[in-house]
Amino acid sequence: MKAILKILAASGLSLAALPAAAALNVFACEQEWAALAQELAGDKASVYSATTALQDAHRVEARPSLIARVRSADLVICAGAELEVGWLPLLLTQSGNARIQPGSAGYLEASQFVPKLEIPKVVDRALGDVHPSGNPHVHLDPRNIAKVADVLTERLVQIDPASAEVYKARAGVFHERWRAAMSRWEKEAARLKGVPVVVYHKDMSYFLNWAGMREAGSLEPKPGLPPTPAHLAELVERMKRDPAKVVVYSPYNSPRAAEFLSERTKIPSLMLPFTVGGTDKAKDLFGLFDDTIARLLATVK
């Protein structure tokens, strides 16, 4: 009896302690934004990521578990630029949650606050799954992370003014660490300048742009369409004329196409973490860039 009472008391305490420990529910569509929210909000927020590094954020289903999470969210942070167009609108309308509808402080599309690359001049589905407002994978340019951190801090302060000082202080610390890391990465990545790479999907563009690397081809014949034998054969030919130094792919891609090209051309293939959790070392945003650069340097030499 006593034991039961103890358990009840303990569970009562833990229930009472829960809201104080996690005041804010943050729903992030992707791991990188979950990681950023965690950096900036610390224990003031409970952060949930809708996807893992092993999922293609474009092909996610509006699963019941995701609707349930959005239902209780105070802030939704996503890449935007039509990346989540196949599932996020459903989560928003099904959730019955006014706090996170587009236009409110609780809805944040990261890509709106950074200069976007590859804004198509012609929007036509015959060109593949093009994004009319530009490439949505903005997080692989460290400068963009800093920009989104500013907006996210503003939003956190706006939604949870009681903890404003905490968010501002954490943002200050984060920016200082990020600046230091960025100057380190710039030095390290200097050796990557001009290096030609073959990508799987156009999800590395911001990194290539930041590091000054050159995209020499992509395994997908058109954005969003899986590699075809004909296209791979053409790539093999192209690599004879304009050889790349490395073939990169992301954890959510099957490695087979990259390995095929690598075998035929003797160009090494390499998996990059793409987002937080993509490799063991990419534990947070710092680890993501550390490991991406380290892997490239080790392969390109």
Binding site: E61, A62, G134
Partner: protein
């Protein structure tokens, strides 16, 4: 500043000409100013770039999302589709057969959707029928965005939340046609004019509860188009539970209860004299549906492979009065008590074994169950006067393979052995394309 002064002193002490240092100082100042200006211009340009890359241009930026669904089909049916019926079950007011033989255009769909303001979202889905040159409103509803606490209200015409597949548009179905149970109990697909209130629980495990009040414009209500009365002609209550199991499985299961009071719901049936007579039912109709869906995809990434298992169980009870030959075309109008308890179910699995390619199998079964017909029991008429109501358990096997070269197009080949009719087996083959143009749609789980 101090450092600069010290340097000047040091330079002076070294005996270098003073004028040269002053010039360096000036140059340095100008350079600093130039760098500051440049920095400002760069950040301004960057801001402009963000603005430019994020701002939609043109007057049509406020247009709703528009998408069009086109589909065409080639049907090869061993039995005449005009004679299609589901034996053992009351016909459902509308057309539920396998369509016409040969090449035909399916219903084209035009969908418009946008947020109306910060309170409402509007959706219109018009279906353009290829044969009688008519445009129908498949769905046209508004939906609240700002209610909070997990509540949403939908009003207008929408596919009822009865069961699982009923809410999904035909173009997103995994097979060319509806399950037999949907055909027999919901007249293919039940679209209601009404109001839906739904609540989603604030729990990590998904739970929703909803109620729909409608006019009763379609089967199982009646007559066709709804009753001429104030108030509510049909009500539906539903609940769903769903979540994830591990990292690769997602599931949802639901139960719903649809209750209507059909009045003069008519159906045609040839009686014992061979005359096609019109019979009508008035009374109560209650339908329970139990549904479940389970999806497996490695790490929830359905790009390469996935498997989807879906099933629904329907159980209907009807009681009231059946009037035979309402137009007195044969033996004259007579009314007797009528009660039935019937059920049906289907189970289907779809497997994407490589990107773009899927195979699927579906099994359908209906149980005519028990029917008490007062007119037959009293001896006023015989069972031969109601041939369609004679006990029979229809079944169907369906297999399909489809190819989706992109998210926006699909070509499907389907074959079925359909025993909806008690006397014949219809061997069906369908070859179909379904494509979507325009806005990227979002599909329900």
């Amino acid at each position: 500043m101090k450092k600069a002064k010290l340097m000047v002193l040091a330079v002076a002490a070294l005996g270098l000409p003073h004028a040269a240092t002053a010039q360096t100082q000036d140059e340095l100042r100008t350079l600093r100013e130039q760098v500051r200006q440049l920095d400002k211009r760069v950040s301004e340009a960057e801001q402009a770039a963000i603005q430019a890359s994020s701002r939609p241009t043109g007057e049509n930026a406020m247009n709703p999302a528009i998408s069009v669904i086109l589909n065409g089909i080639y049907s090869n049916l061993s039995q005449d589709p005009n004679g299609f019926r589901i034996n053992g079950f009351t016909p459902t007011l509308g057309e539920v057969g396998p369509g016409v033989r040969g090449l035909s255009l399916g219903e084209s769909e035009l969908a418009l959707a946008a947020n109306i303001d910060h309170h409402f979202r509007g959706t219109l889905i018009a279906s353009i029928s290829p044969d009688n040159d008519s445009i129908g409103v498949e769905e046209g509803y508004i939906q609240t965005l700002s209610l909070s606490y997990g509540f949403t209200v939908k009003a207008g015409r929408f596919f009822s939340g009865v069961g699982y597949q009923n809410q999904i548009h035909a173009h997103a179905w995994d097979f060319t046609d509806a399950p037999l149970a949907s055909k027999a109990f919901l007249g293919n697909q039940l679209g209601e004019d009404g109001v839906q209130l739904k609540w989603v629980a604030p729990t990590p495990l998904y739970f929703d509860l909803g109620v729909e009040l409608g006019r009763g414009r379609q089967f199982p209500a009646g007559p066709e188009g709804g009753r001429n009365k104030n108030g509510v002609g049909s009500s539906n209550v539903f609940a769903h539970v769903g979540g994830d199991l591990g990292t690769s499985v997602a599931w949802q299961t639901g139960v719903s209860y649809l209750s209507t009071s059909p009045q003069d719901r008519t159906f045609d049936d040839p009686d014992s004299t061979g005359t096609t007579v019109t019979n009508s039912f008035s009374g109560r109709s209650r339908l329970w549906v139990l549904d479940g869906i389970l999806k497996w995809a490695p790490n929830q990434n359905p790009t390469y492979t996935y498997f989807k298992l879906q099933g629904e169980y329907f159980r209907r009870k009807e009681d009231g009065n059946l009037t035979y030959d309402t137009t007195a075309a044969s033996l004259g109008a007579q009314t007797g008590g009528f009660a039935s308890g019937q059920s049906g179910w289907y189970l289907q699995g779809v497997y994407q074994f490589v990107p773009m390619w899927r195979v699927g199998y579906r099994y359908d079964r209906l149980n005519a169950g028990t029917t008490g017909n007062g007119l037959v029991d009293s001896g006023a008429l015989t069972a031969a006067d109601f041939p369609i109501l004679a006990a029979y358990n229809p079944t169907r096997h369906t297999v399909m393979v489809d190819w989706s070269p992109s998210e926006f197009s699909r070509v499907r080949l389907q074959a079925a052995s359909d025993k909806s009719r008690s006397d014949v087996t219809d061997k069906q083959v369908f070859l179909q394309y379904i494509v979507s143009l325009g806005a990227h749609g979002a599909h329900k789980f």
